[in-house]
Structure formats: C-alpha cells, structure tokens
Subunit: 150 residues, 2 copies
C-alpha cells in the first residue's frame, strides 16, 4: 500500500507544476489572437458538447456563473459564440459556437496538437495514454472519496 | 505526430480537473488541523530541501514573496517553523522546520500516503510511475519550449 501511495503521491506532486506550465504556455500562444484562455476553454466545451447554458459551463469549469457570463460576453464580442433560445429552459439561453467560432477553435486546436506532438516527441504514445488513464482514474477516485482523499 | 499530439493533449486535459480535485481534498483534510494547504506546502519543501529563504520558496511555488511571507508567519504562529540567520545572505534569513513542525508534517504525510494508497488501490504501481515520469517530462518540455508549447 505504501509503494502505491508513494507512486500516487509522485503523480500528484507533478500535477500542479504541469498545470501552471501548461496554463502559461497556452496564455502566451493565445496572446496574439485576442483569445483568452477562458474563451478558449469555452469554445472547446461548445465544440465537444454542443450548445450549453451558462450554468452548465460554470459547473464544468468549476467557476462562478458570473465569471462564465463575462467569458461569454468576450466570446460574443469576438463573434465566436451566439445566444439561442433554449427549448428546455426559457430563462437560461443556450450559448452556441458560430461558424467563425468553430473555425477559430479548429485552427487553434490543430496548431496545439502539432506543437504538443513535437514537445512530446521523446515520449511513447502508449505511455501518454497510460498517463491520461491514470489521471482520469485518480480524479474519479478523489471525487468519489467520502471525506476527500489525499 | 498527430497521434502523439492527441495523446499528450489527453494528458493535459486531465491535469486541471485533477489539480482542482486534489487541492479540494487536501484542503478538506487539513481543515481540522489548523494547517492551510499553503502551510502544508511550505513544511513539505523545508522537509525535502532543508532550510530555505523566502525568495527560494516563492520561486519554487511560483507565487509572490509577500504571499510566502504570510505563509511563513502563519507557520511560525503554529510553532512549525522558525527563522535562522543565513550565513550566505545577512538580509535574507532562513526558514527552517522546528522539531514540532517536522513531527506534524511527517504524521500528515504518512496519513496522505495511506489515503492515496487506498484511493489508487485499483491502479498498477508501474502505471502510476509511468504517469509521474510522463508528467515530469511534459512539464520540462513545456518549460524549455522557446515560445511556450501548447
């Protein structure tokens, strides 16, 4: 148990620095394009999940609805998202990608994958997949722990 | 390249949620002990690296010196750290663990390893080690990238 605990601890101890490094790199890359990291995250969510309400996005990103509303306003000013009526909830409109927003995100993401592929050139794809699966399982285990894990 | 890029992207996409889950879990666990997550991080750094100046801790945690100074003040009030003269820099004193601070951190960390070992019970230790190594290499590659990676 102790070996496994120490190995899991080593994973978690690398998560924070990598999170910071990745956030900084994404921010630098986006600077020239007038897109913030938050707008990028919104576009990704809408591309992956289809139109969402502000509360849905807020829950996913684990930030306040007010914060999401500001990001939606920014993305609308850029022409990347639009509001649509929500058949399910009259008072909570849907945020959806525009054609331009989809094109912008697709180009951005293709470039990210190219850069990441080059960065990870020395790492076996199987090891990357193992790593992603481990992170997903740890996050799920932590989320399910009654009193919170480590 | 694209497969590797996508696999690396999958890793990064799990880093942020796991970082949030872990921070929340640690915070919950520390609440009963009067230790904040920041104080815990300070104690860990001093245990692993020996006495450090405030600027050294600030650089490692990637936060401001003022923020570290507040954490050091909190830890001193708890009796977990003390200031010592620094033979190398007269104006930058060293922050060091007290005996009580070391005992508190050791007990805390042993409990974390037990909890994490239980949480990760279904994950192969080798996969955890592969994951930690991948995260470390990705963070290093991102840090070394001239214009920032993904």
């Amino acid at each position: 148990m102790s070996t496994r605990g120490e190995a899991a601890y080593a994973v978690l101890s690398h998560v924070r620095p990598l999170h910071l490094q990745a956030a900084r790199a994404v921010t630098r890359r986006l600077q020239g394009q007038g897109i913030t990291m938050a707008v990028r995250a919104l576009l990704e969510r809408l591309e992956d999940q289809g139109p969402q309400t502000v509360p849905q996005v807020a829950e996913w990103l684990d930030v306040s609805r007010q914060a999401v509303q500001r990001v939606v306003d920014d993305a609308r000013r850029l022409g990347h998202v639009e509001l649509r009526d929500n058949p399910a909830h009259r008072r909570s409109r849907l945020v959806a990608l525009t054609g331009e927003g989809r094109r912008a995100y697709t180009a951005l993401h293709a470039e990210e994958l190219r850069t990441l592929g080059a960065l990870a050139a020395g790492i076996e794809p199987d090891d990357l997949r193992t790593c992603a699966a481990v992170l997903e399982r740890l996050a799920a285990a932590l989320a399910a722990a009654p009193h919170g894990g480590a």
